[in-house]
Symmetry: C4
Subunit: 255 residues, 4 copies
């Protein structure tokens, strides 16, 4: 999945990886013509699906960045935020009426929005809280997945992302109703650790973990899973006052 704020851009990625399953993810920073231009180019360049980002009406206050007076280079050239802020269901309808490419809405966080998306013929619901970086005290993707899976009831595909680091994490999401699991940070870590070989190794580890987990659950494929394989558990990493500032060292802390 290639976002519209990622390099080297829609066409270059298509040229470099023509046979790959490619999804183009748009941040709407322009008018209808802007949106249509991107949809058309995604279709023309053989993208499998088109994804609209719907959870960025505002750029969040990122306090670690603020504390360090750090501004991401990509933020300096942002324009068209008003279009993102004013994004409405009208745009989804526009795309569905005029284009024939599977549409994904990324950032769905409630059963209610999933239902409206279904009413608009959206093919994929992408459950995400944007890596936890957008809404202070928002719910985790895995927390909202059950109610969204119940609302979708098989009428659309469900993608999910948010801190998936293990093959067993993936198994849990699939058992809870997801069809696809997105990885972000994990790829960066693998790249940082060992470059391209790191990515391959990371994927092999995930595959190995998935296979062992499925086998030990007594199933031979994802399709046999359902939520009866899951049980609520207490968190291994409870939230704390300083969760948002893992590098901050304030000792002793008591309150």
């Amino acid at each position: 999945m290639l976002s519209s704020v990622s390099q080297p851009g829609l066409e270059n990625v298509a040229t470099a990886a023509p046979a790959a399953l490619r999804i183009y993810q748009l941040y709407v920073r322009g008018d209808d013509a802007f949106v249509e231009d991107h949809v058309s180019r995604a279709i023309a360049n053989g993208y499998t699906a088109f994804c609209l980002t719907v959870d960025t009406a505002h750029y969040s206050r990122r306090e670690r960045d603020i504390a360090k007076r750090f501004v991401r280079a990509s933020r300096l050239r942002v324009s068209g935020s008003d279009f993102q802020m004013g994004l409405e269901w009208r745009t989804i309808k526009l795309i569905k009426d005029k284009y024939k490419i599977p549409l994904i809405l990324k950032g769905i966080a409630t059963a209610e929005d999933a239902a409206i998306a279904l009413d608009h013929g959206v093919e994929w619901i992408y459950v995400s809280n944007h890596g936890g970086r957008q809404l202070d005290h928002g719910r985790g993707a895995m927390h909202v997945l059950p109610e969204i899976a119940a609302a979708v009831a098989g009428r659309a595909g469900i993608m999910i992302d948010g801190a998936f680091c293990r093959g067993t994490d993936i198994v849990k999401a699939i058992a809870m109703g997801a069809n696809l699991v997105g990885l972000g940070r994990l790829q960066c870590w693998a790249l940082a650790a060992a470059g391209e070989a790191g990515i391959v190794w990371m994927l092999e580890l995930l595959e190995d973990e998935v296979i062992r987990c499925l086998g030990l659950l007594g199933v031979t494929n994802f399709a046999e899973l359902d939520k009866s394989y899951l049980h609520a558990a207490m968190p291994t990493n409870p939230p704390s006052v300083f969760s948002a500032f893992p590098l901050l060292d304030i000792e002793p802390y008591r309150y």
Copy 2:
């Protein structure tokens, strides 16, 4: 909101800020004449509303003060505590029968008391546990808000205070049924950090946080919020044996 134990007093504040929305908050430390005198002066000086403090039948044991042999200067000149201790609904009736100024009861902590206040024609229920300083192991204002909001059911306004530090905290209270959120310590911190400019900056930060939070929740104003936007969560700051003594350093502690 100006309390009767704050300086520079009812008239001076009115003179200094004639156009401001001002609320006068009384600690009842005298008889009916004492109460009527304050209500009359509040009306005469253009206060928007009159607030009775109803959660101070006793001054609490403040053990950090006791441990340091510290007595607040304002405590030295306290008189009339018996009136505060004996405060009854009769006084509320007296004010409502005789004066035409919106009445606020500050320190309501149960649905039962909110209902009695409504029966007396009180216009505003002020949910507060007095900054957590009054009743050992009392419930937090946000804990009691849901049952009080249900009891009030729109028949009075609801104010709340208690540890509100973020724009998102304010959004949560509004979504749960409050109409106004009171800030106390936050103003002191801002003043201590940067004086008058600090207050302005603090308010700007709150506004920014509120706007981003509303936008990311998918609403454009407070009125669209209701409690369906909230979900119970585990505390980020669980209580401990030493919660009341944050500066106490006893290590190691195990029990």
Copy 3:
């Protein structure tokens, strides 16, 4: 309350404090004649009530003592443990049939046992887990109080003990249905801190805390309290692997 393993014994305490409300608490370490002898002497010496200890079928493994090879002096002269182990409702019936002194059973921990005690005409149910020293992972006295209070339903008095250290702790027990709260360690601490004057001071502090708490709850006496004044809360002191060994310093510990 004077236990049969305490000094200076039934008669000496009566002589020293003839006007005090005195309760005699028996560890049954002999046959029926042994029991009857103590009941008769308690009556003869003006004790207000007679208490049978019913939670010591075994002396518990006290591992801190074992680890230090410490044996309490009082344990060296223990005899008659078999009688304590074999204590049955028959003995309660024997006392009730033959003597006219209010009977207390100390160590009741279930609604079922409370009901049987009521059937035997017992006047006071003493809810206690023996300071947490008897049964590994037993429930706390405050945990079992609600179901016992419901079972007793006013047909007997309810005493309770177990870690009561604050006036507010006492208020909680009364609100939950207890009529009397027992103090043990608190008296030792007060004595150790300041001798007889420490006891007086401790009691004054408790009284002060109770009065402020009742006032801030909006009541003027214990009788106005009921369990609606209480709400379940998370523990301020969660159990840990080393709870039983507070002085043990094993760092770092992770599992």
Copy 4:
């Protein structure tokens, strides 16, 4: 209980301890002839029961071993894993149809599997999560015991293992419906601490703890226990991010 990967093997153990209650536990690493060979030899050598291991379709990722590049000697000579992976109910039927020795299935973790086992005439359900080493985030044996005990409803015996270290732990499992409790690590610890005498001492301690616990619960034998003697409690050892790596020292950790 002697597993097929333990020394000195089926016949030698029988010779060394002819009068002992012996159970033979098979890891299925061969075809039907392999299984039948072991069952026959177990019967011929006077084993009381035969146990099939059913929770090892895969050898788990043991990351502490991986991190240390450690490979257990016994893993080097493993063959026939495919048979273990492909183990089906067919093999249970084969044994039950042809042999007359009580059959135990070790590693049952759901009521559903327990029910299928009962349908196959299995005499003992062995509830286990393999010491927590097999399935990442699997449920504990004590967590699944209630639903399995309900499903079994007395139609088969129930064994359980998993971190039982105290007599009181054993009492809890029996009260929850188990008939036998297995010990593994505890025997290794006792052996390491004091050899053969350590084992005897460990068993004496367990017996002492069981007897005191039963007595303090007011019962004189296991048969009087049922689940009404148990109450859900919060864990004394909550899981953490590093639970799997108790020796890892990463400080400070915050997230």
